[in-house]
């Protein structure tokens, strides 16, 4: 796997902001993107991820700060002169050109002679396994085939970095999984940097080395998919990623273990985070829904909660149970379908949720 820290950054965002009038789309962003890594920019719509990508592509100019590509400031360099090809959400294939001519476009703009252009385009069509479609019109292609044309068109100039703006959002679920495989393999084989913008956790986590979570123009967390999934750095990340339960409380005892008092009871927690807590500190306790056990009788362990069943969502082998706590707040549990077989859950049924004290993740400065 790629070791980001071993190489110098290919791209740096240095205090980059982007404002449209009084609206701040990106707020003093600092980010380093390394040679050969697969980086996902992820967040809800309007979080600034696409704007960041467009600034990198030269389609928007930063209002403040500096973007560097290979150490060189590129703020004022137009999109035309950067070799930062992009795969668009709409794919933006040229409908009046056939597949071959679409792929040749970037080479034609660089005044590469026709014969070489043709050869290089065919090489990439072959690599994307669509050589036999070279003479087709774009309108004759399926969604997956269009995707491959778009990739070939962007890669034909052999750039060091490829930008992808939610390229899979128009595909159906099965195809998305297949294209994820194609993209991840392609990136490894080529060894170039992929910057991938998405709002989809499964896409980001399935392919990337590192994920950047953004919200309201700011970076909330940068880390490996696993780190982000298991140790969200903020309440926003905990809410946005995975299926997490968040209980806000304060530390009532920090002598041996952390004892945390919340509106729905008192819980204990292993000291498993980098942050140290003192008595009286407020914090958010994050319990991932898939780390919760359920039972009909009170298990009489330290970390257990009384829940009232509301509904369940059945997706194949995994079931998500939605329940209500004593104070009216929501609680989610994910479990296997077969573990529920002998529990008669219907609306209003009371059951107990429990978790190991090492499985709760703590976030400093809990909100109220």
């Amino acid at each position: 796997m790629n070791e980001p820290s071993a190489t110098r950054p290919l791209v740096s965002f240095d205090g980059v902001s982007k404002r449209y009038g009084s609206v701040v789309a990106v707020h003093t962003m600092n980010l380093e993107i390394y040679e050969g890594e697969f980086l996902a920019l992820m967040g809800p719509s309007g979080c600034g991820k696409t704007t960041s990508l467009r600034m990198l592509a030269g389609l928007e100019e930063p209002s403040e700060g500096e973007i560097r590509l290979e150490g060189r400031r590129i703020n004022e360099i137009s999109s035309i002169e950067r070799d930062t090809p992009m795969v668009w959400q709409s794919l933006a294939l040229f409908p009046f050109l056939n597949v071959q001519k679409n792929v040749e476009f970037g080479l034609k703009m660089r005044a590469i002679p026709a014969e070489e252009r043709q050869q290089r385009a065919r090489k990439w069509l072959e690599r994307m396994e669509i050589l036999e479609l070279a003479d087709r019109d774009i309108s004759q292609l399926s969604g997956g085939q269009r995707q491959r044309v778009a990739l070939a068109r962007s890669l034909v100039t052999e750039p060091r970095i490829l930008l992808l703006d939610e390229p899979l959002s128009a595909l159906d679920a099965n195809l998305v999984v297949r294209m994820q495989g194609v993209l991840a393999r392609l990136q490894k084989e080529l060894g170039i940097t992929f910057v991938y913008v998405t709002h989809s956790q499964s896409e980001a986590f399935a392919m990337s080395d590192r994920v950047v979570i953004m919200s309201q123009g700011r970076i909330e967390q940068i880390g490996s998919p696993k780190a982000i999934y298991r140790s969200p750095a903020s309440r926003f990340v905990a809410d946005f990623v995975g299926a997490n339960n968040i209980l806000t409380g304060s530390v009532s005892d920090s002598t041996e273990r952390l004892e945390i008092r919340t509106a729905v009871g008192e819980f204990s927690c292993a000291r498993n985070t980098d942050v140290s807590f003192n008595r009286g500190d407020t914090l958010d306790m994050v319990i991932s829904a898939d780390l919760v056990q359920i039972s009909m009788e009170n298990p009489n362990v330290q970390n257990s909660l009384r829940c009232r069943f509301i509904s369940e969502e059945f997706v194949g082998s995994i079931v998500t149970i939605f329940a209500e706590l004593d104070d009216g707040s929501d609680f989610k549990v994910q479990t296997r379908q077969r573990d529920l077989a002998n529990m008669a859950l219907e609306e209003g049924t009371v059951f107990f949720a429990s978790w190991n004290d090492a499985d709760a993740h703590l976030i400093d400065g809990g909100s109220t």
Binding site: L59, S78, S79, M86, A92, R110, R153
Partner: protein, 268 residues
């Protein structure tokens, strides 16, 4: 018979009536243009091409067709170019006063033609530009550009806004992206606008009559013939004008329709 099919029969009858209302005069004119009688009376005489022969024996008519051809083709080229530029400006840029810009650009066809012709004559005469072929061209360009703009603007409204950015992203300069992406994308609309403006210019009488001086276009010469005599020559030349402009308009429509079908096939 059910009430529903009665209603549909009524509707059909209504449609036929409307078409009859629209096309009977033209059809009548065509029928009498190949009828041997000097006056349009029933019963009809026998079939003849005599009136067409008479019309084309007149060198003035040939001249008028030549002038009309020069004018309508020049107008089509210029008006389509200006129309494209206006439509692209509207598509690409946002600026204060854009609404004013657009309404000014679309204004000319709403001015009564007689007023327009008079105004054109007054202006062109003052700057010594009236009575030439180019005077007609200039006036018709003013009249036709809005049509070209409307047609091309409709096409630009369908473009994927990322298409032009994608061209830049792949290394195309502004001009190059315009040439390689915007113009080909608008191709059918441009061709259609060309036919449409040619047809409008070819048919236009009032403005041409004011500014043409001795360079008579076909509609102007028709009036002249009509004032001189009332034989079916007028029906013959009328039919030719009708067929010419209908061909252009239908061509414009067909090009646009083919584009729409392509669009549906491409639709994601």
């Amino acid at each position: 018979m059910s009430a529903r099919s009665e209603k549909s029969l009524l509707l059909r009858g209504y449609v036929v009536l409307v078409f009859l209302f629209v096309f009977t005069p033209i059809l009548t004119s065509f029928v009498f243009s190949v009828n041997s009688d000097r006056f349009p009376t029933i019963p009809l005489g026998h079939f003849t091409t005599h009136w067409y022969e008479t019309i084309f024996a007149d060198p003035d008519v040939w001249d008028a067709f030549r002038i009309s051809a020069i004018v309508s083709i020049s107008v089509a080229v210029l008006a389509t170019f200006i129309g494209f530029c206006t439509a692209y400006t509207d598509y690409r840029y946002n600026f204060t006063g854009k609404a004013l810009y657009l309404s000014l650009a679309l204004l000319p066809p709403t001015i009564p033609l007689v007023i327009m012709g008079l105004a054109m004559l007054a202006l062109l005469a003052r700057i010594n530009m009236s009575g030439e072929i180019y005077s007609i061209v200039v006036s018709h360009v003013v009249l036709c550009s809005p049509f070209a703009m409307a047609v091309i603007r409709m096409r630009l409204a369908q473009i994927d806004p990322d298409l032009e950015s994608a061209a830049w992203n792949l290394g195309a300069s502004n001009w190059r992206a315009m040439r390689e992406v915007i113009v080909p994308f608008c191709g059918p609309a441009i061709a259609s606008a060309f036919c449409l403006t040619a047809a409008v210019s070819f048919d236009e009488f009032a403005v041409a009559w004011f500014v043409s001086g001795l360079n008579k276009t076909v509609p102007v010469i028709i009036l002249e013939i009509l004032q001189g005599n009332t034989d079916p020559q007028i029906n013959a030349i009328g039919s030719i004008v009708f067929i010419t402009s209908m061909t252009l308009v239908i061509l414009a429509q067909l090009i646009l329709m083919r584009k729409t079908i392509d669009q549906t096939a491409t639709g994601i």
